[in-house]
């Protein structure tokens, strides 16, 4: 079980999380190359955040994916699910080798995540724009129920900690109306138990977001919608953890962690290139990418 209290981030823990992010990136490259299809840029860009979520921020237990007290993580932009599968495998939800079954017939690791296929996913996603409203519905339902006494503590015993609901979204899916409907709902219902993490990487399939359908001033739109907005560098784990802690202190508004990320992060030759949004590395490219990541890992250990 990881981190019921989210202790403050020590330098040693930060270093561990950075190494985890590197491990996750290597697994992403291996699984995509083996699958021969899938998305590369988004998963690599979000590896730091997912390492922080699964190894520090989330209250969860890989051996009990349906543990009632767990924090919930909804993934709205289902196409970046390789980063989630890789993080889950490294955290111990399932064997690392299973990652190589991604997108193959009979695999629990469907091309886009399916709730009924793999324990530990909160929902099914892929079609964009529906995650925030599902997460908001979940947060609303959780808040309806009175905080129950913990089992075994007797009637006057301890109380259940409020379930926190996290939802990872993309910038491109903010072209979808459903996203903004969900954003309005979460704000109207004052869902302080909901934290959205947006992967603001400025790319989508047809090009850069500001060319396809401009989203700026993005964070200000959310402020106008009544959200508590925290701007961070999404590849800086320390900033991300601090933002998650800050979100817990906001009781009457949902929080948006507006995370500026570098798509393709960790592989210099593809960083920031929208053409890597929706394609996997070839076998040869994977060899080069993995070599680059191993070098980075070595440098981190020096």
């Amino acid at each position: 079980m990881y981190n019921a209290g989210m202790e403050s981030l020590t330098d040693a823990k930060l270093h561990e999380l950075q190494l985890r992010a590197n491990d996750i990136r290597q697994t992403i490259i291996e699984m995509l190359a083996e699958a021969g299809s899938g998305h590369t840029a988004g998963p690599l860009g979000m590896a730091d955040i997912f390492a922080a979520l699964y190894f520090h921020v989330l209250k969860h237990d890989p051996k009990r994916p349906d543990w009632e007290e767990r924090d919930r993580l909804f993934l709205s932009n289902g196409h970046i699910v390789p980063v989630r599968y890789a993080a889950m495998a490294h955290a111990g939800y399932f064997p690392l080798e299973e990652c190589l079954t991604l997108r193959k017939f009979g695999s629990r690791l469907q091309g886009h995540p399916e709730r009924e296929s793999l324990p530990g996913l909160e929902t099914t996603s892929g079609p964009l724009g529906s995650g925030i409203s599902q997460a908001a519905g979940y947060a609303y339902a959780a808040r309806m129920d009175p905080v129950k006494p913990l089992r075994g503590h007797g009637a006057s015993g301890g109380t259940r900690q409020e379930i926190r609901v996290y939802c990872a979204t993309s910038d491109g899916e903010h072209d979808e109306g459903n996203t903004w409907e969900g954003a309005m709902f979460a704000s109207a219902k004052k869902l302080g138990n909901l934290t959205q993490i947006i992967d603001r990487n400025f790319i989508q399939i047809d090009g850069n977001t500001e060319d396809v359908m401009p989203l700026e001033p993005f964070a200000d739109k959310y402020r106008a919608f009544g959200w508590h907005v925290i701007d961070i560098d999404g590849n800086d784990i320390r900033q991300f953890v601090a933002a998650c802690e800050e979100a817990k202190t906001i009781a009457d508004k949902p929080t948006l962690i507006h995370a500026l990320t570098v798509p393709g992060k960790g592989i210099k030759s593809i960083e920031g290139d929208y053409l890597w949004h929706g394609k996997p590395p070839s076998k040869d490219e994977a060899v080069a990418f993995l070599a680059e990541l191993r070098e980075s890992r070595k440098a981190m250990l020096k």
Binding site: R115, P127, S130, S133, Q134, G137, E181, M184
Partner: protein
């Protein structure tokens, strides 16, 4: 004659102005009113029941639940995609959400959200589509859902129920609250004859034989309020010497395979009746089944691949060929066809 085992209302055939009924006609109520009653009862029976509204609480009859359980009523505004996905999230948590709007908007506008977040997720959200069918009347084509059964029937994991009257609407709502599955419930706006009683057996997936003549030659499978027209046609046909079996198929999916096949086999020819496009609705479902299990000549009484329009419900039913005379004509036609 009426199947006594179904405990149907005795006034269901009373004619307006007729002496037998004291001039009252059959008892009339809208199926959506049955929903309003049923969902309140479901809410009393189970604290997990919640109702979501997309700015139509009065006209969907969700307001009855809102009055009794304000803390379990969630207004989402005019946003059917949001309603489906918020509902999905609540169901994932463990609630039993009834999401309410007009059928053209839900499941019309939010079909993909229903598919991904309710059906693939396999969570027990109840999609309640009101104002289905032509009898929505003056609102016109945009508000008359005639494709919703097809939309929902094609979706794996989805149960599809189309109650024939207000009482059955109440029972279907109660049953859906307990079935633990994604479920579509289809309701109509206008007042229509009440045929069933609280004693009428109701079970999701079990079609009911409402009428059976001696020596039946035609099986009439009907769904929704038009079941009443099917019964009126059966009575008239019996007077003319043509025996029928009238089956109320409230659950279009899963279709009651055993009843449909055995009744079709017994009668030898089939007429289907529905307030829906003839493509993909009850007629389609019956034809798909019988083509495999018991090939039978079929005529389809339904909307013939066109949109509705403004008008009074009665006018529209006649203009679109869904009246008693149309059912009788379809019966003659199917009997006139060469048996294979």
């Amino acid at each position: 004659m009426i199947n006594k085992e179904m405990h149907l209302r005795e006034d269901l055939f009373s004619a307006k102005g007729g002496s037998a009924s004291g001039g009252e006609g059959p008892t009339m109520a809208a199926t959506r009113n049955g929903f309003g009653k049923g969902v309140v009862e479901a809410g009393r029976a189970d604290a997990r029941v919640v109702v979501l509204s997309a700015d139509l609480a009065e006209s969907t009859r969700a307001d009855a639940f809102q009055k009794e359980f304000p803390e379990r009523f969630i207004e989402v505004g005019v946003a059917e995609q949001n309603m489906a996905t918020v509902g999905a999230g609540m169901a994932t948590y463990g609630k039993i959400p009834f999401i309410t709007s007009y059928a053209t908007f839900s499941p019309g506008r939010n079909w993909e959200q229903i598919r991904t977040t309710i059906a693939i997720n396999n969570v027990p959200v109840k999609i309640c589509g009101m104002h289905a069918g032509l009898q929505t009347g003056p609102d016109g084509a945009t508000h008359q859902a005639l494709e919703d059964i097809a939309l929902m029937r094609a979706m794996p994991n989805m149960i599809v129920i189309s109650p024939c009257d207000a009482e059955e609407g109440r029972r279907a709502t109660l049953a859906a609250a307990k079935n633990g599955l994604p479920t579509y419930l289809r309701f109509a706006r206008d007042k229509t004859p009440v045929m069933t009683t609280p004693e009428t057996p109701f079970e999701i997936g079990r079609a009911q034989v409402f009428w059976k003549s001696k020596n039946p030659k035609v099986a009439v499978f009907a769904t929704g309020p038009l079941v009443h027209n099917a019964l009126l046609a059966a009575r008239e046909l019996e007077g003319q010497g043509t025996g029928t079996i009238v089956v109320n198929v409230h659950t279009v999916k899963p279709l009651d395979r055993d009843t449909v096949v055995s009744v079709a086999r017994e009668a030898g020819s089939v007429v289907t009746v529905e307030e829906h496009q003839i493509t993909g609705g009850l007629g389609g479902a019956v034809a798909e089944l019988l083509a495999r299990e018991c090939p039978t000549p079929i005529e389809f009484v339904g909307v013939q691949d066109r949109f509705g329009q403004s008008g009074e419900p009665k006018e529209l039913i006649e203009a679109y060929g869904l009246g008693v005379s149309n059912i009788i004509a379809a019966t003659s036609k199917v009997l006139g066809r060469n048996q294979i």
